[in-house]
Symmetry: C2
Subunit: 234 residues, 2 copies
């Protein structure tokens, strides 16, 4: 059965990397002593090795060893044999391009659907949705397609931000962007504020964490749901 | 010779549509009594017809008639015969997909390089750069490629925003996003604050408007240039 945690962000302001997620991560990876980390999103251009090192340090407190997927000669077999996964944040276009060009997206999807626990933060959460068309990231590279793993039957918008009523800036608000998405697509979108996450346990999908989440369904007014709410949107 | 105006935004906070650009638009379209408007970016999902109507109203004060490109049976010929162009803002992915799928991007590029005056705002400015990889927009549709018209030898980042030192939000700042772009691309990027624009007159390219602009060159610290500065970056 599916065992997935999709977080809006990897850390909260003023806190250490992954700190606020520790109880949830412990539960997700119960009985797991080694995971594969996918470093391809490279936040700020960090190297794959440095990114793995940062994650390994955070996971040492769980007694879980971390290996970077980029270090394997045969990454497909490595994915099929892995006990669990973490895909970190950064640039979703870069992440999706790497996974698709190396033929890894569908292998990872299969492994997670067969029960290997999966943790995503930010870009790593985006790729669990139907497609990456609701990412906030800059399109710095051109991936072969925008399709992602469909581990959940909707899209995510991590780092969801409410409109700032005092802003004098004309850049589109997050809500307007998602409305524009719905002029072209029918897929629902879950706006996850920083501090919130989605938990998938088998067929049961809930939103969790500190804040209400925003649900955007095509043709409806957006609405909020409280932590603990089961999601049935598609 | 090229005669181009690329604005960061179509209006300033509290002002009417295009108001702050009126003197510059008057100069750009000297002697022109009719232009073609490209409404494909559809901000907020506005219809093509409604978008043209909004633009026609603003251009009435210049004595310039406006026709929507979507109303022509043969848009390629319409572009080749046009006296000038305006491409409005909205979603850059939607705009680029339409132009590429209809085979209009290269026709428009040729017309502008042969001297037809071109006004772009926001998404309409993005497509004058080398590619759309530094847009701020959400990737709501998948265009055939990210290549754009290369009317200038660099990329633009419209609605450029300085990092907010008080923010507790973890979404990447504009500067970090452009730094990530430069881990994958060598093209320079001009960050245009709202109220600023780029003016191309033949081979002369200057930044204009109310604020300094930010220049990002690969491997260099970003730096600011004052209104009136000639740009030589590629």
């Amino acid at each position: 059965m599916k065992n997935i945690l999709l977080a809006s962000t990897s850390f909260l302001f003023g806190e250490e990397y992954l700190a606020y997620l520790k109880p949830a991560i412990s539960e997700l990876f119960t009985g797991v002593n080694e995971i594969i980390f996918l470093p391809f999103a490279r936040p700020g251009g960090i190297s794959h090795d440095d990114y793995v090192q940062k994650v390994a340090l955070a996971f040492a407190s769980f007694g879980i060893a971390v290996k970077g997927l980029h270090t394997f000669n045969d990454p497909k077999t490595a994915i099929m044999e892995a006990k669990g996964f973490f895909t970190g944040g950064g640039n979703t276009f870069l992440l999706v391009k790497q996974l698709q060009e190396q033929g890894l997206m569908s292998v990872l999807k299969d492994a997670v659907e067969q029960g290997a626990p999966y943790l995503g933060t930010s870009a790593g959460s985006n790729i669990a949705g139907v497609n990456m068309k609701t990412t906030n990231d800059m399109p710095i590279v051109y991936p072969p397609s925008f399709d992602t793993m469909s581990l959940v039957p909707f899209n995510l918008n991590p780092h969801y931000l409410d409109p700032d009523p005092n802003s004098k800036h004309n850049g589109e608000t997050r809500e307007i962007r998602i409305k524009e998405f719905h002029t072209q697509n029918a897929t629902s979108v879950v706006g996850l504020r920083e501090g919130s996450w989605i938990r998938v346990a088998g067929e049961n999908i809930t939103v969790e964490g500190a804040f209400d989440s925003m649900i955007f369904e095509q043709g409806k007014q957006p609405y909020e749901v409280k932590p603990g709410t089961q999601l049935h949107v598609v």
